[in-house]
Structures are given as C-alpha cells and as structure tokens.
C-alpha cells in the first residue's frame, strides 16, 4: 500500500502561501527596484526612468556616505559587544546548574517578548540626563556633569545591544550545548590547562554558533529602525532612518528606494558569506585534521 502523497497535492498545498508571498512580498520588492532607478521631481513622487543616478548620489554625497559608514560601524560594534558579553552568558546557559540555566534563559527571553518600542523607551529613561545611570555616576563622583548618552551613537549602540542580545545568546548556547564535555575532559586528562581547553577545544567547536549569532545581530542592527529613530534623535541618521526620512519627510521616493536596496544588498551579502562559511570554514574539524 503506497501512502505517499502524489506530487500535485504537494503543489496545491504550497500554492496558497507562495501566492500570498508573490503578491505581497516579491512584487512589492520588484516595485522598490523600479523606484530606485526612477527620477524624482517637484510635484511628483516618481518619474519612470532607468537611471543609476540615485545610487551614484548615495556614494558621491558625503552626507550619505557618512550615514552608510556609521550604520556599518554601529553594526560591527554592537555585534562585537554582543559576542563578548554573550559568550560567557551562553556558556553558563548551556553548562550551568539547572536553576541557573532556566534563570538565564528566562532573563534573555523576557526582554525578547517586550516590544522594541517599550524597551527603547526604557533605555531613554535609564540613560537620560537625570536618569538613574547619570545619578549613579554623579553620586560616585565619576563625572561632574551628566553624561550625554542619548541622541548620539553611544545611545544607539546601547539600545541595539539590548534589543538584539538574545539573537547572539540563543544560537550560541544551543551550539555550546552540543559540544561534548568529554572532549574537554579528554583535553584536560592530556594535560591542558583550562584556558588551553577553552582555546583549543570549546572555542573552535562553538564557531558555528559564533557565526550564526554574529550574522543575526549584524544584519538586524544594520537594518534596525525603531531604536536609532528614538535614541539617535533627528541629527543622527542611520540607513533605516534615512530611508524613512527620504520617503516620509523629503518625499524623494527614488532615493529612499535606493537606500533600501542597499540595505538588502548588505543583508544578502552577509547572509551569503555566512552560508559560504558554513559550507567550507565551519569544518573546524577538517582544519584540525589537515
């Protein structure tokens, strides 16, 4: 008795979801591409054209270049900080005592369930000129004037780090959970100190988790809108806020579309590099063997 579903049933089951994505995702993305090669003119949001002028403007206008560099810099700093803070966190979440594991899991999941707008607002309250952090710094005598954390890059980095920290910790801890503790025991038996065990065994084996977490945090940070918009204020643009500004304030839809396309290019570039890396470089085993 052959109970395998015939092919046409599969196609019918897949069709509704694929059609919805075609209509409301693929076609709109096509629209963005069309807009990005169009022209803008006073009195009209868009004139059809086939010009690369918008992309040229992005790379030739110092303000836009600065925004793109700032976006990438913020993405890198947030990713590095998330990795440095996230590694020990993920390690304890994977290896700690059961109560500690549950506690750390809940501590990282609760913020994830709270709306990004609310969490960013929390940071605005915490980091404000008369907020608790400045009150503490003043009380300890570490500063004589309140430190300005908001409406600059520092604030954006702190906010994004909080918002995307779980995306580093969760993949990292599931990879660390799969690292066989016996391998570490074996290294220790063979005379390796705890730092050597970490550097030569645990760390290399957790590289896939580091790669996954870093890829997620970087792509999410680079494209984030809410946190930079609230914590950066009007003066500090990143690519996502530049998109919104061009579309909603300056009504230059072609340029806004070009910035959006650049965001997709960056994201796809990082995701592709990640998959290449997984296919080749994550073979840490192979490298060690060679």
């Amino acid at each position: 008795m052959n109970l395998r579903r015939p092919h046409f049933v599969t196609a019918w089951l897949l069709l509704p979801a694929l059609l919805v994505l075609l209509a409301f995702f693929a076609l709109p993305l096509g629209t963005i591409l069309v807009y990005s090669v169009g022209r803008s003119a006073p009195g009209s949001i868009y004139i059809p054209d086939l010009t690369l002028a918008n992309y040229a403007a992005l790379f030739e206008t110092p303000v836009y270049v600065k925004v793109m560099l700032r976006t990438l810099r913020i993405g890198l700093v947030v990713t590095l900080l998330a990795l440095v803070l996230g590694y020990p966190y993920a390690y304890l979440m994977a290896r700690g005592r059961p109560w500690l594991r549950t506690g750390l899991l809940l501590a990282v999941l609760l913020p994830l369930l709270v709306s990004v707008v609310v969490r960013t607002y929390g940071w605005m309250v915490v980091l404000g000129l008369d907020g608790p952090v400045n009150a503490l710094l003043l009380a300890l005598g570490l500063t004589r004037q309140p430190v300005k954390f908001l409406f600059n890059e520092t604030g954006i980095v702190i906010g994004l780090l909080h918002v995307f920290f779980p995306f580093m910790v969760l993949p990292l801890s599931s990879v660390l959970q799969k690292v066989d503790p016996q391998l570490e025991d074996a290294a220790r038996t063979l005379g390796a100190g705890s730092f050597t065990v970490f550097r030569r065994v645990t760390l290399p084996l957790s590289v896939p988790g580091i790669a996954a977490g870093s890829m997620l945090v970087f792509t999410l940070s680079v494209a984030a809108y809410v946190t930079p918009a609230l914590m950066g204020g009007a003066g500090i643009n990143v690519m996502a806020t530049l998109v919104a500004q061009q579309i909603l304030v300056l009504v230059n839809w072609p340029l806004g579309a070009a910035v959006a396309v650049m965001l997709v290019v960056i994201t796809l570039g990082v995701v592709t590099a990640y998959h290449r890396f997984l296919e080749s470089g994550a073979g840490v085993y192979q490298r060690e063997r060679a």
Partner: protein, 261 residues
C-alpha cells in the same frame, strides 16, 4: 581573579543590563510626580488609572489585537498547509521553495514596509486595514511555517500510515494523529506570529493612515510627545503582559521553544 569567577561577574552584570530598562520603567510607573524624574517622587497608582485616557490608545490597542489575531490565523492556515506540503515530499527545488517561504525573514522589515507602501500606492490600494493585514501576514508567515515544519520533520509518519491502515481517512488521520502531536509546534508558531505582529512598528508606520494606527506606532508617538509617567505605566502594563505570556508559554509548551524566535 579566576577565569570562572570573571565569567560569572560578566554574566551577572549582563543580567542587570538586560533587566535595567524594564525594571526602570516599572519603577517610574509608580511615580507620583508629573514628570519622569529619578529617583521617582512618592508612590502612586494614578498613572495606571490614566492609561485609558491616553489619546487614541483604546482604538490602537483594539486595532493591534485584531490585526495580530487575524494575521496569526491566516499565517497558521497558510503556514501549516505549506509545511504539510513540504514535510513528506522530496522533489527538486524543495530547498528553493523553503528559502522562498523564509525570505521575509532575510529582507529587513523596513524594506518590506517601504516596498508594500510603494506597491499599494502604485496600485491605488488605499485601505489601511487591509494593507496592514497583508503586510503582517507576510512577516508572520515564515515563523509559523518554520516551527510547524520543524515539528513535522521529527514527526513519525508511520503513525499516520497505521491510522490509515486501521481505516481512518486522510482528514481523520490528520485531525486525530498528526495535529495533536505537532500541536506544540503550532502553538509556538502562533505565539511568535502574534507577538511579531503585535510588536511590529516598521511595517505598520509605513502602512498606517490617520485613523488606523497600530499600538507600537501610537506608543512611539507618545514617547516623543508625552513626558509624564503615563507612558511608563502603559509600558509597564505591556511588560506585565509579556511576563504572563512567558509564564503561560513555559507551562504549556516549555519556554525553550521560544528560542527560535
């Protein structure tokens, strides 16, 4: 300091970092002062009493609840159907189909939002609520498809074959065997979908009009315009709701299922 001790210290500091904005908002929400100040002055519940008086709040909240429920329902139907189609089938291009179904996760949501805005404007589709629903289905669908597909991949299909041999029709076998076993995956997918829609700002602020403003957009506007602890009280209520959801999820399907979020 021993390395292990240093690691514990870093992790303890990180937990404080994670809790800081959330705890601060809760503390501020009990303030008796007219402005957000630190340390908060006095203790009062008055800001909680005034939440419903925030301009446009009730409409926004109702819209977001409707939007999240409908988007979740549609995504569950579409996502489960697609996952069932993929689960047992092995065909050329299967990986491509999966990548296509997951693609809204890869494209930044600000881009998706803008794309939908330009697409709807081009086609003169001006109904904000339908536009919002379409956008929210697009961003919630991958979560549902992914979690349901993941639970179907570990599902033992011989159980269905057994049910069929014992005389159950395909629908009955699905309803009585497949569905109960993959239910945790469906629930997890549904929770992701609901939260993703309910918290979404970036798609919504492009597609909202003056009347149809989802809650995150309203809260965002409050933050820029209202400086009393009322917004903190509203935020605190949203935080309590998240905490309740986390506890309920932990009881029902185990919080670790939310890892995939």
């Amino acid at each position: 300091m021993r390395p292990a001790l240093a690691a514990y210290a870093v992790v303890a500091a990180t937990v404080v970092f994670l809790a800081l904005p959330i705890v601060s908002l809760i503390v501020m929400s009990f303030s008796a002062a007219e402005y957000i100040t630190f340390p908060p002055v006095g203790f009062s519940l008055k800001w909680y009493g005034r939440i419903l008086q925030l301009p446009g709040l009730v409409d926004s909240l109702l819209l977001s609840l409707w939007l999240a429920s409908l988007a979740t329902l549609l995504s569950l139907v579409l996502g489960m159907t697609a996952a069932l189609g993929l689960a047992r089938a092995r065909f050329r291009g299967r990986a491509v189909v999966i990548a296509a179904l997951m693609s809204p996760l890869v494209v930044p949501s600000i881009v998706t939002g803008l794309a939908l805005l330009q697409f709807f404007v081009d086609r003169r589709l001006r109904s904000a609520d339908w536009n919002l629903l379409a956008g929210h289905v697009v961003i919630t669908l991958p979560y549902v498809t992914r979690t349901v597909l993941a639970s179907l991949e570990v599902f033992d299909w011989s159980l269905v074959d057994t049910a069929r041999v014992l005389g159950a029709g395909p629908l009955r076998a699905f309803w009585r065997v497949t569905l109960p076993i993959v239910r945790p995956g469906i629930l997890a997918g549904g929770i992701f979908a609901f939260l993703t829609s309910f918290d979404n700002y970036t798609i919504s602020f492009f597609l909202a009009d003056a009347q149809q403003v989802p809650l995150p957009v309203t809260v965002f506007n409050y933050i820029n315009n209202i400086f009393d602890p009322g917004v903190a009280a509203l935020s605190a209520v949203l935080i309590y709701a998240s905490a309740v959801l986390l506890v309920v999820t932990e009881r029902m399907i185990g919080a670790s299922r939310l890892r995939g979020f």
